[in-house]
């Protein structure tokens, strides 16, 4: 029962095969027995059981929607009214939000059951979930390896079948990279498609909430529920959301797939590039046409990203000052000392590194050379995509250059860690929808992710292609050993 997809549960719940309460209880027990993964920061059984029985009543009355009664995990970056929201940081260790994030609210309205809050890199800064105050999360495919990050807790939870679906956020790859490393389908919608209200900000112009699940079909159902304009978020897009579910079943023959030469260069592990090429042939067999495209400025994405994201973060995280909520140092001599001690104790090393970089690139004398220049590069990168999309409907490549790496391998070398997001960063800089789906395994049995980037606001096409691919492959059905 635990290994089913969202849609399978949905059918079973409405067919009274089992109740939401039974399913929820089973999932909570499973989470406890898999505690060594460290996928959760907080389990919330009371909330979950209450929501499950509410869902069961709706199901009983025949008023259930497709998501009613389905358990899920929220990344601990989404504010939840009854359960603490830590962002993986000591500074918010005991913070309980008085309100729900819009995304949380929407999924609650849809009848979903929150099991708890998933582990993550502190304030979503990281690619391995090793930067968490609550310790690293382990990859269910190999406990000595990272699940990716920053939404690594969400990814590990779904991969280990602790929940059929999880929410995540993606600022530079934080949904897609862990999805790739854990063998999941994960989508980051277009910037502005999903409200950021209540999603604790890392880099406001790049952050976007999304979904990780076992299938792209499940992703479509949950994305449908969380998308749409929110008057509380001035950057959310005020446009009708298309019917993602309806378009899943369309044939993909005639769709044009662009392959950027830059995404197939050196530095991609052989098994990864091989799996990607095989996946591309599958798409070709389904009738898609392949064209070569260019993204000439893609090498600038990482440096551009690592100026802009820290700049915004240095300002966004200024509110964690110990004055109103969260951690405050217990001893200090004056207000400046209070700030310094609170923030020194409250933030981990990667967050501190980025706050320093961010303050530096915004300071007088450096602003033009870094921030302004990075904004110009961002424009060039976005223009590259606009040009490329004149020739194709979707851009495809590997999500990551390698499969999951061992815990501890890159913690001392931030640049190596940053390079893990080399293919994912640019979609955030350009605000485009992108997803990762399972497309094979390396010789160590570690999953490989296929990356699909769509046109702005065209989540439907990448979901459609991903779904059609999954109808003809079974990579997404593999379960890590010990979790079946």
């Amino acid at each position: 029962m635990e290994c089913r997809t969202v849609l399978e549960h949905s059918k079973a719940l409405r067919g009274k095969e089992y109740s939401s309460l039974e399913l929820t209880q089973a999932m909570l027990e499973r989470a406890q027995s898999c505690a060594s993964l460290n996928a959760y920061i907080t389990l919330s059984p009371e909330v979950a059981l209450k929501q499950a029985s509410t869902a069961d009543k709706l199901i009983g009355k025949g008023k259930a929607g497709p998501l009613t009664g389905i358990p899920l995990v929220h990344k601990d970056l989404f504010c939840t009214k009854d359960v603490r929201t830590t962002c993986g940081s000591r500074i918010l260790d005991n913070f309980i939000s008085p309100y729900n994030a819009t995304l949380v609210e929407k999924l609650q309205q849809a009848g979903m059951v929150m099991l708890g809050k998933a582990n993550m890199d502190e304030f979503a800064m990281g690619s391995s979930t090793e930067n968490s105050y609550y310790g690293p999360t382990r990859n269910p495919w190999d406990h000595e390896r990272v699940p990716g990050g920053s939404s690594g807790g969400s990814a590990a939870a779904v991969a280990a079948r602790l929940a059929p679906v999880a929410t995540g956020t993606d600022t530079g790859g934080s949904i897609r990279q862990p999805a790739a490393l854990c063998g999941l389908s994960g989508i980051k919608p277009s910037y502005g498609r999903v409200s950021r209200y209540g999603m604790v900000a890392f880099a406001s112009s790049l952050d976007q909430g999304g979904v990780m699940a076992l299938t792209s079909e499940d992703c479509a159902y949950v994305l449908q529920a969380i998308s749409g304009f929110d008057e509380k978020d001035s950057t959310s897009v005020n446009q009708a959301v298309p019917d993602y579910i309806h378009s899943l079943s369309e044939p993909i023959s005639g769709k044009i797939i662009g392959l950027p030469r830059e995404f197939f260069a050196d530095g991609v592990d052989k098994p990864v590039s091989q799996a990607i090429r095989e996946s591309i042939s599958v798409l070709e067999q389904l009738g898609a046409r392949i064209v070569d495209i260019e993204l000439p400025n893609s090498a600038a994405a990482i440096p551009c990203y690592y100026v802009l994201a820290p700049a915004e973060a240095s300002s966004n995280l200024a509110r964690f000052d110990g004055v109103r909520y969260g951690h405050r140092a217990s001893e200090y001599s004056d207000i400046v000392d209070m700030y310094e001690s609170t923030r020194s104790e409250g933030f981990g090393p990667e967050v501190k590194r980025r706050l320093l970089i961010g303050a530096y690139v915004l300071s007088i004398g450096y602003f033009e050379a870094y921030y302004v220049k990075a904004q110009k590069l961002r424009r060039l990168i976005a223009d590259d995509f606009s040009k490329a999309f004149e020739q194709c409907d979707v851009i495809v490549g590997p999500t990551t250059p390698t499969t999951a790496f061992p815990i501890g391998q890159k913690t001392d070398d931030p640049v190596q860690m940053y390079l893990n997001d080399i293919f994912t960063n640019s979609a955030n800089l350009a605000g485009l929808p992108a997803m990762s789906i399972p497309s094979g395994f390396d010789n160590q049995g570690l999953p490989i992710g296929l990356h699909l980037i769509g046109k702005y606001l065209d989540e439907a096409t990448i979901l459609n292609i991903a779904h059609q691919y999954q109808l003809h492959t079974d990579w997404h059905q593999r379960i890590p050993e010990g979790y079946a």
Binding site: C87, S205, E231, S234, T235, A318, L362
Partner: protein
């Protein structure tokens, strides 16, 4: 040496919106601490700002009122610094692209001389909260009710050359923002706050001297005193061969002096950058034109209309235009009353103003509305009431809601206009004061006033003094 002061003012005007600049929390004054601190005001994790369009409308209003250009594209930026009452660790303000730039205000500088003061820019920004240092046992209390309150910061050119000019500019600005209902201008509640940049230079010099910025000058009187003190301080330093340090100085009204607060060296790097949570503010022509069409008649147009159509003096017109409600009141009375506009203006600027002042209320809340006020003046015009009686009737009108005629009737305020009745009373007075009447007839003009007084007393003040005067003279001669 002759020194010339150079003064520029930065004024923070609190906008008359219902809610904060980026959230729905109320900005009403005087609420219990932190009772108007919503999640956005507290800067809880995850919250986002949403622009209050009414604040933009008021800023556009101001731009149009001072003949400035209203920028169709303006950008909110973050001004980053740590302070306990700045909840986000940054203030959202407009920096490189303000909503209003390049306007002016004309001030009167003694007599009929006028001077134009340039306004460099006006930009929208949010206010911080309040730090409370008393009653917290050595700690600091934070009240975030004010955090996020919409402000318009209005920056003048360094065009003023004396404290008097600075005060004239400030008063003009104060009148204008109240007139257009941009701000209530309440200085005690901090709705109209001023900082002054002051420097001096040898008279006739082209360049500017080193300036200091004066803070805590939140009344017209303090502005004047602080600037004058600062000018004198700077003159003394320069004449002693010293140099002015560029710094921010705090005005101490009790000692009437300014003292250093922070120097330029302490100036922070605010690390401004465009706020990624807020799209650029784009105003279309339609919006701007709608605001323009909704503007009331501009004060200087209205003033010349009063001078020409109503033959009012410049100073009478100016007084009526001290706020829009007074001018509106005046026009309503003019429309209803048979009295001439000059009399109406005098009564509004004189008796009514005194009454309202005494009770400390605005004209909008006047206990005597324009209808009853018009009726009162009509009773002067038709000679039912003397001026003196009318003042008493006004006092009664202010205390109850009866109409004018009921009060005149019930309190016996009717003026004696019957000549024979007055003649009878005059004759009685002359009989009783025969020696004085005799003195007058022998050429002592002074005694006439005494006799007038006796007659008025005999009429209980109900006769028209002009009429009494005529009859008394007739009977004496």
């Amino acid at each position: 040496m002759q020194w010339e002061p150079v003064i520029g003012l930065e004024v923070h005007v609190q906008l008359m919106t219902n809610s904060k600049l980026f959230s729905g929390a109320s900005i009403a004054y005087g609420a219990q601490a932190n009772h108007q601190a919503c999640p956005v005001s507290v800067a809880l994790p995850g919250v986002l700002p949403v622009m209050n369009l009414e604040a933009a409308r008021l800023a556009v209003c101001f731009g149009l009122a001072i003949g400035a250009s209203v920028e169709k594209r303006s950008v909110f930026e973050r001004k980053n610094y740590f302070y306990p009452d700045l909840p986000k660790g940054y203030q959202i303000s407009q920096y490189k692209h303000p909503i209003v730039s390049g306007g002016s205000l004309t001030i009167e500088t003694g007599g009929s001389d006028e001077k134009m003061i340039g306004i460099t820019r006006a930009h929208l920004e949010e206010d911080a909260g309040k730090s409370l240092h008393e009653n917290f046992h050595g700690m600091t209390g934070i009240d975030l009710n004010r955090a996020g309150t919409p402000l318009l910061e209005i920056v003048s050119e360094p065009d003023m050359r004396s404290a008097d000019e600075a005060v004239a500019y400030l008063k003009k600005l104060h009148t204008l923002v109240r007139y257009f209902r941009i701000s209530d201008g309440n200085m005690q509640e901090g709705s109209f706050r001023c900082d002054a940049n002051v420097s001096i230079r040898p008279k006739g010099a082209e360049g500017f001297g080193t300036r200091t910025e004066l803070k805590n000058i939140n009344s017209f009187r303090f502005v004047e005193k602080a600037i004058n003190f600062e000018i004198q301080r700077q003159i003394e330093i320069l004449e002693d061969g010293g140099a002015i340090i560029q710094e921010t100085r705090l005005y101490d009204s009790e000692r009437n002096e300014t003292r250093p607060m922070r120097s330029k060296e302490d100036a922070q790097d605010y690390r401004y950058f465009p706020d990624p949570d807020l799209p650029e503010m784009i105003l279309d022509d339609e919006f701007i034109e709608r605001v323009r069409a909704s503007l009331p008649e501009l004060p200087h147009h209205r003033k010349s209309r009063y001078e020409q159509a109503f033959s009012l003096s410049s100073s009478d017109a100016e007084k009526l235009l001290r706020d829009r409600d007074t001018a509106d009141f005046f026009e309503r009375v003019c429309a209803r009353s048979k009295s001439d506009p000059k009399t109406i203006a005098n009564w509004i600027n004189g008796e009514l103003a005194a009454l309202l002042n005494e009770r400390n209320i605005e004209i909008a809340g006047s206990p005597v509305d324009s209808d009853r006020f018009a009726a009162l003046l009509d009773r002067i015009a038709d000679k039912t009431l003397s001026g003196k009686m009318a003042k008493e009737v006004l006092a009664h009108l202010a205390n109850d809601e009866s109409d004018v005629d009921t009060i005149i009737e019930s309190r016996g305020f009717k003026q004696i206009t019957d000549s024979s009745e007055i003649e009878r009373l005059v004759a009685e007075v002359l009989d009783a004061n025969a020696p004085q009447a005799q003195q007058y007839r022998e050429g002592n003009q002074k005694v006439f006033g005494y006799l007038m007084g006796q007659v008025m007393k005999a009429t209980n003040g109900k006769a028209d003094p002009g009429q009494v005067n005529r009859i008394l003279r007739n009977l004496l001669e």
